[in-house]
Symmetry: C2
Subunit: 1011 residues, 2 copies
Amino acid sequence: MSKPLSFQQVIMRLEHFWADQGCIIWQPYSEKVGAGTMNPATVLRVLGPEPWNVGYVEPSYRPADGRYGENPNRMQMFIQYQVILKPDPGNPQELYLRSLEALGINPRQHDIRFVEDNWEAPALGAWGLGWEVWLDGLEISQYTYFQQAGGFSLDPVSVELTYGLERIVMFLQGVRSVWDIDWGAGLGYGDVLLASEVEHCVYAFEQADVEALTQLFRIYEAEARNALARGLVIPAHDYVLRCSHTFNVLDTRGAIGVTERAHYFARMRDLSREVAQAYVAQREEMGYPELKRSWVVKDAARQWVNEAAGQQSMVHFTDSEPADSLPFLLEIGTEELPAGDLTSAIEQLREQTPKLLAEARLEHGQVRVTGTPRRLAVYLESLAPKQQDREELVKGPPAKVAYDAEGKPTKAAQGFARGQGVSVDDLEVREMDGGQYVVATRVEEGKPTPEVLAKLLPQLISVLRFNMTMRWNESGVAFSRPIRWLVALLGDQAIPFEYAGVQSGCTSRGLRPLGSPELAIKNASDYFGVMAAHSVIVDTGERRASIEQQINRLAAEVGGQIPADPALLEEVTNLVEQPTAVGGAFEEEYLSLPRDVLITVMKKHQRYFPVVSDSETVDLLPYFIAVRNGDDQHLDIVRRGYEEVLRARYADADFFYKGDTSKSLEEFLPRLDTLTFQEKLGSMLDKTRRLEQLVPRLGQMLGLSEIEIATATRAAHLCKADLATQMVVEFTSLQGVMGQEYARKSGESDGVARAILEHYLPRFAGDILPETRPGLTVGLANRLDSLVGLFAVGLAPTGSADPYHLRRDALGVVNNLIAAELSFDLRAGLKAAAKLLPVEVPEGTLEHVLAFIVGRLEGVLREQGYRYDVVAAVLAERGHNPYLTAETVRALVPWIERDDWMDILNAYARCVRIVRDLDQTYPLAPALFAEPATERLYQAYLTCLGKVGPESTVDELFAAFQPMIEPINTFFDEVLVMTEDKALRENRLALLQHIARLTEGIIDLTKVEGF
Amino acid sequence: MSKPLSFQQVIMRLEHFWADQGCIIWQPYSEKVGAGTMNPATVLRVLGPEPWNVGYVEPSYRPADGRYGENPNRMQMFIQYQVILKPDPGNPQELYLRSLEALGINPRQHDIRFVEDNWEAPALGAWGLGWEVWLDGLEISQYTYFQQAGGFSLDPVSVELTYGLERIVMFLQGVRSVWDIDWGAGLGYGDVLLASEVEHCVYAFEQADVEALTQLFRIYEAEARNALARGLVIPAHDYVLRCSHTFNVLDTRGAIGVTERAHYFARMRDLSREVAQAYVAQREEMGYPELKRSWVVKDAARQWVNEAAGQQSMVHFTDSEPADSLPFLLEIGTEELPAGDLTSAIEQLREQTPKLLAEARLEHGQVRVTGTPRRLAVYLESLAPKQQDREELVKGPPAKVAYDAEGKPTKAAQGFARGQGVSVDDLEVREMDGGQYVVATRVEEGKPTPEVLAKLLPQLISVLRFNMTMRWNESGVAFSRPIRWLVALLGDQAIPFEYAGVQSGCTSRGLRPLGSPELAIKNASDYFGVMAAHSVIVDTGERRASIEQQINRLAAEVGGQIPADPALLEEVTNLVEQPTAVGGAFEEEYLSLPRDVLITVMKKHQRYFPVVSDSETVDLLPYFIAVRNGDDQHLDIVRRGYEEVLRARYADADFFYKGDTSKSLEEFLPRLDTLTFQEKLGSMLDKTRRLEQLVPRLGQMLGLSEIEIATATRAAHLCKADLATQMVVEFTSLQGVMGQEYARKSGESDGVARAILEHYLPRFAGDILPETRPGLTVGLANRLDSLVGLFAVGLAPTGSADPYHLRRDALGVVNNLIAAELSFDLRAGLKAAAKLLPVEVPEGTLEHVLAFIVGRLEGVLREQGYRYDVVAAVLAERGHNPYLTAETVRALVPWIERDDWMDILNAYARCVRIVRDLDQTYPLAPALFAEPATERLYQAYLTCLGKVGPESTVDELFAAFQPMIEPINTFFDEVLVMTEDKALRENRLALLQHIARLTEGIIDLTKVEGF
């Protein structure tokens, strides 16, 4: 192999490559920026209608990422290569892949993947959809279609490519530390940059003068406004960049409090938007000078997609009408769809295709919808050659008007027939709308299927909906990701239509590793065969099965197993077109890292399958299995890449772990002051302090022992500390897990450590639940604090938005209490939480929160299969106590299923119905009972009352109530309650009111069906 | 011709070129810098012993150069390409020239010249010697050997190459405005940068908030110190850069007063030095990691000078001793010597060569010393084959000790003979030191000439002295410019020696345009022939003659003449090795610009010869004649280049002229507030205000009319205003000239306009002098103000340093007064000037200044050929009045030449000698005179006294004195002055004292020879 490219050679290659494609080559900016995006060559030039194609290097400063040069991958300054293509040239992915080839990266020898990764910068009023690009598992680039910037919707959309130069060069050079990169001329990256890296870290973390920098921010902001007042875009933007960098240093210095942070962001966002507006206004005033020329980058070496798609010679559009039913194919070729969108699109097409075909009166055979990340395929076994004819009855005049006495059509009938285009003779008389009317049968002849499809297919595509959509070209069409080709074939006949600027045809594309070669589809029926012949497994199920079989086989080879993980399997299936499983290993020493760390990295970050020794013990083996998109050639290179990435990540994790455990967990607490919980509710440290007070109170309410309360209180003190550890900063999903681990390492008791983890449980549906009462208590406190606090500041979830995951919190409260069989009065808990908040809690808030939790409780019980009325009946009385509710519902069911249930219910109902509309409660005067039936009922009531109270179970309630049935019925049979005698009447009603109240606190039987 | 390179292609070519030579390719800095030099990759990396070779682009911000995008060549931001080579690779010029070839610039088709241009940045504690590189007259690069940075002497020295990218690309693309440059991808430089250029101008000139920026500077300075306190080099340097840019914006905004400016500079200089110190300390502490490897860039394509010089096969070193006298050659090959250094080096070699040869006892024939910018040649027609022997007499013991009575040698003689290595028989007896001594004759035999030369030649080179010298390689040798080869031949035998790291040989080099080919010199006698054969005219006189002949011929072709200009002719002769004159033309419309502007640009900036219609009228013709270094091929390309440069400069001048004349001269006055005269003495505006007050007083002293005084006062008001005009900012030498021009344009009177120019006259030796008295008066005021002011603040010139040109000022005072025949008492003038100063004038200052001026006056008179004693005699009494002094000296000479002069002098001397040592003055009592001789002398004295006073001319003095001669002589013959009688004695002495005082205020005859 020839000598790998040096860092500077990589840059020069990229500059040449993009210059050759027609980009201008720009320079790094003269201010410190956080990313190439902030260079005016991106953040401003993407605005407005003018074309702009540019490539440049950008040293990017992110002070908080600094690690004093001790980390092999993480620096406060790294170097990007940034490309902007505006407008979309139609083949940006192919251009990007060719740029990798220019660096000597042959796609045939590697696994290059486009993995969903969207981008949002609220401070810039900017977002876009796109991908991370993975090279043998290593993220080397970001590839984004900008949708918005500076608060403006972008039209045209810009394609942004950001190369992580260090990553790429480390890969090319096979070095494991950024500092070991050969920069050029025999000099190392470390020789060039390490000293300044360390210095910048010392400055930002330890030395920067907070007061001075705070002043700088203020002056920069004021000067930005001063420049904006004269419409000076670039001078203003320079100051915004200085604001941003100054803020970052202050933040790194730990000097940004919670309230300030939000304010700082708001100020920077406002400035950014104003700069964008000023730029747009300026270009408009200049008359958009660049609009005068067409400037779309072109592939300098090859002529790509668009041209090929236009090769009419390959497309067999004909006007002939098919005679028989024919197979049909629609293939929508896209840039890599997000895994979830692929699943969703297939589902939608499965539903919409038959529906639209039916509406279009096209008879068809079996519908097969499937797809890969790059294609959605709708295949019909057969499709009728033409629409079915449609008959329509049109109601005319009444028969007696339409025909004269002799039965001859009148002028009215003739006029009607003429109007409907039918002969008078074809009119019929029918019984309609309660009378006799003339009707005409209008027949609409079915059109040839190709003609119908040409209109139907665009419609079919356009009805697809996705969570997030993007625009990419002048068609303005929004889709999950850009559509790059369309195949539509009825038998061997192409169905011509245009959608999203793409002309349909009969040319599909093959695998990316093979350069996405054009594949001609001669007949719809050939489709799966052609694809299979070119190694594309279009069918999702087939891919899934293949993966499953391959990974299990490989796992078995190392004596292991793959734990079942349908979600990961589904995702991986949706990331590849030709799955080839690759086994890899990692250093055994890393097995000493916490298991969750190892698995999180493998699954969440790399989409690798972990391997365990056997499915019972779940001991990890030092192996993984990944799935390559491509065949089995050059697998060694790919494997080496996979392993190297994992190794680097584990090395990182190891570095974090060692760093974190060099301090006690408690020592991380002060840093929580810089982590915002919510602006008005303070920092995570503020929250921690509230939990420390709330936990003992809740513990008492829950009946915890003193030892348990002490454990819980200590856990509350530490429960958020891991948020400030490097590991959790890097792997957010490990919060709690690392807290537990680090607590143990810090010498905390097992109980405390356990409670730290447990206070997050359950983290998702199906997760494990707390096993200890201290853990449950801290979790309860955490959730109640969040619920009350966020409701109080007006951040209750809305129908669509629940940014603080309060639904999950409420569900956690409910599920944990039920599972732990702990009776707990939420009302008292909420009140206790409210008292500790730093904000005033508006009137009615606690009731809102309670109702919100009760709503989740209702859902939980309904999902368990309990009848709506049963649940409602219990919730009405016991909703504030989830476990009690659940118990009560459970106990209620057998009663309702009893044969004599209606007797019980009816007896109670008779009492209630007569009193429930009364607007006052009458005093009971037993001395005045006149009749024996009343007296007997009263005695029965007293007996029941002696056995029942608000705390009673339903069993107790009904057992005590049963003896009252007979006296109740007798009473109503013998006594006229509503007598004229007011005193007598009110005394009888008072008795019934008392009986009605026997269920209070237990169940509201009026909500039960049959009441 | 193929399409010219775009801007971005030029950058990419340079990056490739320098990467190929072994440089690392670096990026523009993340702060706004004024030049690539300020990037840490230069300003820090040049410090210390470690190697460093780097190339990078640097957008450079100089806000004050902004012209709102309206100027085709001048911008507040321009883009450099910067290269640092450390250590000197031995052939940096050749590498540079090859980089131009990489851009498609063929040296054969152009005139590429290295023109002396040194560099100094006191604020960075940095300086270096070097060149501007001219491409067909256009300055395209700077090429400097850094000698010092951050206050540190550099070792090794760094070579800095700075390409002006816009200039080069405009040249390549043939466009006349920077905004028309093709950047790449069809986009213009203006499309990319014009909008931000204009915005930055508006911001810096009009909008920046002065108070805010002043605060920013303060904070930056404090944070730089804060970073330095922790030894954080780069963070500190970043803040220094921010200080610098902030200062530049404030300055552009017109917000920097005189006192502040100096303070700001001092603060930045201190910071820069501290940063440099911190960097050096840091690298030292790191143990200079880069020292471990040798990293010298190499020419990637060719193997150059050093290797060729080492080719022993070509060098004919032999040990044989020449038998006969042989011709000898020493050629010192250098990078282009400054014109003045070439002249000086030739003169020194002419003096030193015979001297050193004589000392070395080498007989030789005629010495011929000559040279070109690239070579100094010493040629000896013949040189003896060996040194002359040397005989030495050594004195031994006295003869009577050395020989016994019998004349036989004693032991003493034997011992002496043995000690001297001679036989006792060879001892001789000689008369020495007043006695007879034994002497031995010791003969030192002459060594062969080659052996002597090998030691003598390095010595010869090392004795050369230059105004400024530089070091460039590890030899540490200092010379005018780097020595790159050495030829030393005695006949056909090479004389081996090493100097400045270069090994002597017999290989010279040819012309640059031909790629400096190696030229073998087989025999010293071939030298001039070989050089001529390769078109190098080594002889200075021959080149001068050739140029003179060529330019006169070309001037005649357009019907014009070349005004005699020996200095320019001398300079041009020293800039070329093969002179080829090229005539060019410029647009006639530019003839409307002031003539001095046109000539200044041609001569000072371009070294072109102007052409006039005939030598009497000196009307300029729209032509020029330049002298190319090279032959007559591709002259059209070169001529086009010459013309284009001149056109651009005239376009600039036209732009300035129009801009300046859009306002009245008076309107420029306020801006003088921002131009420092001297920190303590205030701004040029402060100085102007002083002159306005001083001029009327001096006018009265000089006897000007009221109208003249009014004219002078108005001129004083305006005399400095042109310093703030664009034209003078650009062409400093036009100060006064433009003032006169603009004053006329502003409607000032001719007298005022003329006085503005004249106040600077004479500007140099041989310059015209003021013709009007107002002009002279303003000039006198200006100079007296400078002299008194600068002496008062301690800035009197020292032996070597006269930064404020006070010698010139004093000379101007003297010469103008003499030429105008104006009697003027400097003492009164200095006193008046002192009164107006803003500083206290220390005791004795005025006397110092007067002595300083009198010193110049003495020089002037001595240069006119007056005898030392004559000048001194007059200066002693009349030095404060230069014109009177000059008149007196002139009048004195005929008296001294008279035959009876000694009679006069002796008579006077007799009187003076007897009284001059008295320490008191006695009262004269005529009544007490006892003798007739005394009485007669007294009467003669009274007669003389009646005709003579301090204002008298010498003619009056001596005419009146002559009758006293006889009485004086009689008095001394007859009277014993020093009688015992005290009263009598003192009265006689009193008379003589009175006589001695007759010359007071006229002349001090005691200083005259013969007294």
